[in-house]
């Protein structure tokens, strides 16, 4: 087997189908969530630590930027879970046709937007 194969993939020249965009978004949100665990653990630790820490966490989350970060994390989490559920369904050979995969990917994006709007209304 030739191990030094030539590779010429100019990703900027591709027109990506929505299933591919859902797939790369699944990856990006996964990496983001890996980092976001620190923020969530720190917040939970602060809130659990003492009544003063609980109040501090509450004050922090009343500010726009921490709220926005939390909303972004929730949006990434929602997308990642929905895309993961789509994967589980596809493991059982549903939604795995061209049209089915397209519809399922669209569904994941639509539900993420709806869920993020609801989460935003909840946080604010």
């Amino acid at each position: 087997m030739k191990t030094e194969r030539p590779v010429n993939l100019d990703l900027t020249k591709f027109s990506f189908p929505i299933a591919a965009i859902a797939s790369i978004t699944h990856r990006i949100t996964g990496v983001l969530l890996f980092v976001a665990i620190a923020y969530l653990l720190w917040l939970l630790g602060l809130a659990l630590d003492s009544p003063a820490g609980f109040a501090e966490a509450g004050t922090l989350l009343a500010q726009p930027l921490p709220k926005l970060v939390l909303l972004a994390v929730l949006a990434a989490l929602l997308f990642h879970i929905l895309a993961g559920l789509k994967h589980l369904v596809m493991d059982f050979h549903h939604w795995d046709s061209l049209e089915g995969g397209r519809r399922a990917s669209q569904g994941v994006f639509v539900l993420t937007v709806v869920g993020t709007v609801l989460a935003g209304a909840w946080i604010w």
Partner: protein, 125 residues
């Protein structure tokens, strides 16, 4: 033909069992996420005592512990997949393998911190 060792850093050295672990851990984490989110949504006037009582109950400590361990396995498989897909000579040149090892060591270090931190947090309530 000499076959190269290419999967030494996957979680279980078997793509098939990594596949299953990725899905089982995902289901555990998804259920935990909606369970905890549901608690926060159902309790808009939450107090410190109520929050501690919720997380300190033994079933919840065990559920949190299970989720922490699931997260460690899930994140490792995911980060490994991303690393081996992108940190390779085509994108990173001749030192790609060194970069990938550093990246993987960084992932392991951060995961270790997360697991130790989270277990300390949940078991000291």
């Amino acid at each position: 033909m000499v076959s190269k060792v290419t999967n030494v850093t996957s979680l279980t050295r078997s793509g098939l069992s990594d596949f299953v672990i990725q899905r089982v851990s995902a289901v555990i984490m998804a259920v935990y996420t909606f369970w905890v989110l549901g608690f926060f949504i159902a309790n808009p006037d939450l107090t410190h005592a109520h929050l501690v009582a919720y997380f300190a109950s033994m079933p919840m400590v065990l559920f949190s512990t299970l989720t922490v361990l699931a997260t460690a396995a899930h994140a490792w498989i995911g980060m490994w997949t991303v690393g081996t897909d992108y940190i390779r000579p085509h994108y990173f040149g001749a030192h790609a393998t060194s970069f990938r090892l550093v990246y993987q060591a960084g992932c392991v270090a951060l995961l270790f911190v997360y697991v130790a931190w989270a277990l300390q947090l949940f078991w000291s309530l």
